[in-house]
Every structure is written in C-alpha cells, then in structure tokens.
Symmetry: C2
Subunit: 373 residues, 2 copies
C-alpha cells in the first residue's frame, strides 16, 4: 500500500495498462498504437487515426473510404435531441451542452439496444460537431441548420457548419491535424474518468459523459481557452514581456506550459506551433503569433518551462475563426476517439477501479441526540 503523500493525485502511480499510446516514454516520444505522432500529423487524417485507435491497425484505402462515408451518414441529430438543444440556454457553457447532448443520446439510442460500443463510438465522433453547431446557430441567429454536409472530413464538416461556408484547404487541414494531436493521451484525467465509469460495467455514454465533464476543468481541457485569454490580452510582444514578468512576480499561473508527465517538451507542441505560424502568415497577423512566441521564449528563460499542446493550439484555433469558448469542445471532438478506445480496452480486461483512502477525520464520536444539541 502506498502512502498518500507519495500518491497525491496518483502522480507516478500506475493505475493500469494500455496498448493505445506512449506518453513521455524515454526514447519513444508519443505514439498511437506504435505510430509516431509526427508521422500521423504529417501523413494521416483524423478519421484514419480514429480507425487506428478504435480498431488497432491502420485502415486500407478502401476501409478508410467506407469509414468516412459511414461517419458522414451518422451526422444527423434525432428530432428529440434538437428539441432539447433548443431548450438549453444560449448562455450555457458549451461543454455542458455536449455533456448533456451525449447523455440525452444515451437515452435515445442506448447501447444495449442491438448497438455495440464501437457503433456508439462512431456515432459520437460523427455527431458532436453537429450538436455544437446546431446549438450555436439556434441560439445566436435562431437558425435550425441542416447538419448533413458534403464535406468528407470531420474537420471540414465542422468548419463548414460553424462558418456557413466551406473552409479553405489550409484551414481544414490545420483543424484536422489539431484533432489528430488531441485524439489520445494515455491516462489523462478525462480518459481515466471514462475508465473508472467503464470499470463498473456501465454503458458507453456514461463513460463519455464522465469524460466530457472531467475535460471541462481549467486544469485539463479548459487550459487552451485560458491560454488564449492570456495571449490575446497583449497588444505586442513587448507588452507581453512586461505583462508576463509582472504575472510571474505575482505568482500567477501561466496557462499552457508544463505537463504532469512530460519533463522536457511536449512533442505535439512543435507540430501545432508550425501550423499556428502558417495560419498567422496567411492571416497577415502581426500580433497574436508574435506575442505567443515571446511568451514561449520568456517561459523557457524565466521558468525553464515548455509550451504544451494547449498553448499554440489557442492561436491556431483563433486563426480558424473559432470562438474561444469552443476550444474545449473541439478537444472533445478529437479525444472521443481516445476515450472510446480506452473504454473498449478497459472492458476487454476489466477490473473495478476502486482505490482506498487515508482516513484523516475524527476519532469515534458519541452521538448526541438532537434535543441535547
């Protein structure tokens, strides 16, 4: 038995096994099912990566085509779900909307009803972008949008629905790469929550709902939104230098830097930084990317900290025209692939996840009847 002092937040404690990805293994970097994140971000599509994570191998060309068509056919929202999305207030947190939409779908299309876990996974991958876009347009302009589209990719589909016109190829691919980078990351908190739920042999939707709620927090998925709020407040790189130095003096936490597992760099950050730079050049931006690079350099110099995936993703999403409050929902679109693969893996070799705790409460007390208090 561990002492709780050494296990605070279970840091460094092995909670199980996985064949899905390596995070921070010496000499191996980040791989999904053995393939390096660099190769996947360069040569694969998000749908290809989702197939790889969920089915264990890269798809053949034919399998990938059929899979894309299948996902495309699963984008439509049932009428009961659109009715419910219309009843969630415009001011709702978008993560609460996705958490609710996922839970509702568990009532409308339950897993046990002749539907396998893998089928639920594909449905959720296909439907989350439609869910967010439908709710968004209904509550901003009153439009009840069609959620079918001709776009083959999930990235293109979402950008099309959000903006009302097809995305440029650079934008589409930037988002596609971002989805690949966010798709899977071992036993991070939201994935672990999904595995805990799955370990009671609960249903697929319960596990994904738990994961969405867990991702929502600023110490996890919410970090990319916080990173953008930081970057966007500065008018120039010099202003950022002064502002961040001041924040460091005041011990304010700078979001988007460091990582529980990585020690020297986050291999995903390098990739998304390249895309952020490219998008900033296309957008003729002279501020946001420069500010980002300056903060990055300062954090290295002052704190020896490296940017994690969230930091440059924030700039990239901004150039894709995505409102800040949808940054974490985009993380959901991607990580659903990883969550689902982990739920299937947990089920394949299940043991109830039920740790113990150190008791630090009072010794036994004598009950005092109500009238004597």
């Amino acid at each position: 038995m561990n002492h709780s002092s050494s296990a605070a937040g279970l840091a460094g404690v092995v909670a199980g096994e996985t064949a899905l990805s390596t995070v921070g293994k010496a000499g191996q970097g980040l791989t999904y099912r053995g393939y390096s994140i660099e190769d996947l971000a360069e040569y694969a599509t998000f749908e290809e990566v989702a197939w790889l994570l969920l089915r264990g191998e890269l798809p053949t060309s034919r399998q990938l085509t059929e899979y894309g068509q299948r996902l495309q056919s699963l984008r439509t929202l049932p009428a009961a779900l659109t009715d419910i999305l219309e009843r969630l207030p415009a001011a709702s947190h978008p993560m609460d909307v996705l958490r609710t939409g996922c839970s509702v779908l568990g009532c409308l299309e339950p897993e046990d009803d002749g539907r396998s876990g893998l089928e639920v996974a594909d449905r959720l991958l296909a439907v989350f972008p439609s869910m967010l876009a439908y709710w968004h347009h209904f509550h901003t302009s009153g439009q009840r949008i069609e959620t079918a589209s001709d776009d083959i990719s999930i990235a293109g589909h979402f950008l099309h629905l959000l903006h009302g016109s097809p995305a440029s190829e650079t934008h589409r691919r930037a988002m596609d790469v971002s989805l690949i980078l966010y798709a899977e990351h071992e036993y991070n908190a939201s994935t672990f929550a999904a595995r805990v739920a799955a370990s009671t042999l609960s249903d697929f939707y319960s596990a994904i709902t738990a994961a969405i709620g867990t991702l929502r927090g600023p110490l996890h998925g919410g970090a990319n939104e916080a990173a953008f709020d930081l970057i966007d407040r500065f008018e120039s790189a010099d202003a950022a230098e002064r502002g961040v130095l001041d924040m460091l003096d005041r011990k304010v936490k700078i979001m988007g830097f460091g990582h529980r597992v990585y020690r020297t760099c986050d291999p995903r950050s390098v990739i998304i930084q390249r895309w952020a730079r490219r998008l900033s050049v296309e957008a003729a931006d002279t501020r946001l990317y420069t500010v980002s690079e300056r903060i990055d350099a300062m954090m290295k110099r002052e704190k020896n900290l490296f940017p994690n995936l969230d930091f440059y993703s924030a700039s990239a999403y901004h150039f894709l025209g995505i409102p800040t409050r949808y940054f974490t929902p985009l993380f959901v679109f991607a990580r659903t692939a990883g969550w689902a693969a982990h739920v299937l893996e947990q089920r394949a070799n299940n043991r109830l996840i039920r740790p113990g705790a150190d008791y630090i409460g009072p010794e036994s007390k004598t009950f005092v009847p109500l009238h004597q208090r």
Copy 2:
C-alpha cells in the same frame, strides 16, 4: 512507482485522503465524520446525515428544521427541465434520466452564476426524487405531477410522489434509514469518478454527472437490482437452495455478496436486514424474505461470503413498492450527499488526479502510406 500487477483496479492503493468516512478500518467499523453508522441509522434522519456530511458537524435542532424547509423549497423542477424529461423515451434507463437531468440542470442553473457548490449540492439532494417521479408518471400515465409536497423528509416526499399517497411511518422510516446507509462510502468507484472530475476544477454538476454514470454499472450501484432479480426468481427457500447451488456449480456470480474493502462483514447489511424483516412481517410476506435469508446462509456455508448492503436492500425496496429499475436511482438520492461532500473536500486541497499506465502496446512502427496498404 507501483507495478500495475499490484495495482489492478487500484485495489489497496491509497488515492488520497478523506475525513468523511471510515470503511473497514479495524476496530472502527463504518463511521461518517466519526459517528457510527449504527447510531446514525438508529437516531438520525437522512437530512441530518446530509448536513453532517456536507457541513462537518451534526446540526442543532433549529438548523435541522431550517435545512428541512430549505430542501423542501428546492423540490420544484424548472419548466425547461420538465419539457426535456418529457422528451426522454419511456424505455430510457432511469439512471440515464437522472444523469441527463443533472447535466441539464447544470445548463439551467450553473454553479458560477452566484451559486456555490454547497447550494448546488442541496438543490440536487432536493430535486432528484422529483425528477425521477415526474419522468415516471409522465411516461406511465401521461400525468404532469406537481413535485412540491408537504412531506418534510426526502424519503416521505419520494414515496408520496411515486405512489400518489403518503407513505406509512414504517415505510417512510425504512426508506430514510436506507438513504442513511447508502449516503457515503469513502473512495468507491462513483465517488472516485466525482473526485477525478472535480480535480480538474470542473463544475459541480460535471462531477455528479460522472458519478451517476459510474454508479449505473452492475459492479457498483446496479448490484441491488441484480440481487433482487436473483431473489425474486425463487418460489421458496428450498427452491432457492437448489437454484443457487446450481448457479455456484456453474460459476455464476451471485450478486449482493462480498466487498472490495470489507473482509468479514458489511456493517450496513445487519441494519437493512432488520428493516427488510420488519417490512416483510408487515406485508405478511412468506416468500421473499425467507428466500433472502436462505441464500444468505448458503453463501456463508458454501463460499464464506457475507451479504453487502445491496442484498437485503433489494427486499426492503420491494416491500416499499419500488419498481426494481428504480433501486439504483434511490442509491443516487442517497449518495449525492457523499459525492457532494467529496467534491467539496477534493476542492479544499486539490491536486489533479492523473495516474500513469504501463505501456503494453507495439514497439515503434514505420508509417505505411495509405496507397501502399
């Protein structure tokens, strides 16, 4: 760092601290905030226990009266929520309904909107019974019931709403005691899921939604329903003896026995068994309770296993006229107190819960371009 072999399901691994309850500590039995479960089940009410768990001390007489009134005032469902409950199919799993209702309420009455975590906890304690009863009556008889009632206790309120008439005092108190017994149990899987969600600094509703989804599984909250299905299939104690022996021969798992943490007995079982016996006498039952006792004796003799809380709770709930599929939702009504107290405790001394995993996947693979597959 542990080896995963010793940490499968984190059994015996300390994942943190708690001042809320002791489970299976030698010489201490089960206590909530230091008070023995025996005293609480004998002398306290569920509302008193909820106050104790959430606020740390037993309430004064005046505090308890005011708390009861406050909970009573929080039983009404917002119109958007009743609309949504009407759109969840009659065939939905009732746990999916509560999971969804909780998530919806997080959109309608968000925590950050001048509402504290403690206020959300009280609201959820008060509103879950109304939510289930409203959905139940709408989908069984088309009635849109009023969810306010004169009953002071949550137990009386729920039985009244469910059956359409006030419960007898014995029935009311039996349910009240059951809620006390189910209220809190250290780092069980659903509570742990709530703490994982809370550890990212996510909101209260996300944590409780995660907990409901986790409780739903048959290895956790679903066990009381499975226990009832077992007991109810036998016509007599002798038939149960033959049937269970046959199941043991075939290595079928008998639900409602044994426990991850308790080794020799579950102190809650003794208490609920007394109530099940009393209710069976009142109901002039000659079958169900006798069958339960026989299975209990056999499991002791054949497997040296003891009944856990779920086993006799199943009989007790049956005598209270509660449909089997609502057994786990009743667990939600009770455990919301414990979940909420754990979320507050996690927040008070937070560290992100993010374990590691042993990688058992393939070595690095070379990416093969799509057209070469």
